[in-house]
Amino acid sequence: MSARNESSIHEHRPLIFDATLTLLDRQVLDRNDEPVCTVDDLELSGDLHDGVEFPVGGPRPRITAILAGPVLVTRVFGGRPPRHLWERIDWGDVERVGVMVKLRLAAEALNVGWTESWLRERIITRIPGGRHESE
């Protein structure tokens, strides 16, 4: 395993990385190393619109959340999904950023995984053997 750029984001010294390069499109894992989603987009503080520069000398933007789900469509085709459709993971729940992004929470505690749990309850567990490991 390459652990070169594994780093805890809550260390005291500031961590410098290129968010587009090392954060976007990375796999997000929950507390138990179960895949949750990919980093489809990032939410920054100071809600700026596309094409608007951050003011020089003003407060620096901070990453406030990882976004997943519907924002992928708009990231590819342009536009923004309405706020109530955002699937957010609060940046405070991020434990580590490396080749993958690791969270402090279990997947069940996040609303990002609602399609997974919906399909699990509506379809998979209603088919015999759905809860069992393969034999």
Binding site: M1, S2, N5, C37, V76, A107, E133, S134, E135
Partner: protein, 409 residues
Amino acid sequence: MKKVLGLALGILTAIGGFVDIGDLVTNGVVGSRFGFGLAWSTLLGVVGICLFANMSGRVAAVSGRATFELIRERLGARVGLLNLVASFLINLMTLTAEIGGVALALMLASSVNYLLWVPVAALALWLVIWRVKFTVLENVTGLLGLCLIVFAVALFLLGPDWGEVVKQAVSPHLSQTESPATYWYYAVALFGAAMTPYEVFFFSSGAVEEKWSLKDLSQSRMNVLVGFPLGGLLSLAIAGCAAVFLMPKGIEVSSLSQLVLPVAAAGGKLAVAFVLVGLFAATFGAGLETTLSSGYTLAQFFGWSWGKFRSPARAARFHVSMMICLLVGIAVLMTGIDPVMVTEMSVVFSAAALPLTYFPILVVANDPDYMGQYVNSRLVNIAGQIFLVIVVAASLAAIPLMIITGAGK
């Protein structure tokens, strides 16, 4: 001793698992039309798949990441999504062809129309994916697929003039009825059939499924470097049987049953029994691989949990997407479309899509963030780049050649 057995098992499954409906049909058609004149294309494809399967296996073992996760990370959302759409649709086409292949194999064995077998085949594929452990499904279909060795036996029994075979393979010349365009069209098709991208999706995801570590790498390398070339020889034997038996009679392969004719003539009923089991196992095994690959590509792109090592409840989206893909496959086949034609299309489109898979693998295999000290060696990189040129050339030529030749007619 256990190690030796493991190695033997791995190699045998690699041989048996190498051939799928695309290889069967394309090699049969090519053998019956061009004799041994296109053997070089199969050999080239085998070298390519060895090189890149090995690379993707190493990436999976070192970084714990399967191919499509990396495609997304390296290419970004936009290009990655385009890649996903193309790769997924082509894989779906291959999956449809494999279901059709299973149904055709069952029809040969039972004389019941293949359309009745299609839903049965798809249901069986689903049941195995739902319940059977990864290693079991891989080993059983691989070992049964070894029955196809009967093609090699039949070739020897048919007793061609080996000097003439070598002459044909080394200096191919076209018969009166074939044009250079069809020759190159089938060269690309054979190359595509040998290097079908799902093999890499499946191989790298399988490495994650079986939790390969660096220690397992040398064994996987042996499996690939010994098993795939032997599987390639099997492909050549299929083409060879068609070349020796069907070509002189002027029969051009257009169905699976014609593929069996040379074996029946050479080896009688027993050989036919072997061929039928082999055809079933090869297409069924590839059906499992392509079904899983459709789930793998989607899940890895969107970051869902996936894998046979999880119970279906812990990989719900993965399993639901595979069910949908199987249903789509059934629906397409039920229109009465000729499965052999679907197969030929899938092989050519696979050839066109090759760079989409192989370029990102080459990039990641050189990225020290993922690979640490296990990045590609210089030699592998040189070979990889040479192959990338060939792959791009084949990909650019595939669709134009299909249009010019009217799909090889």
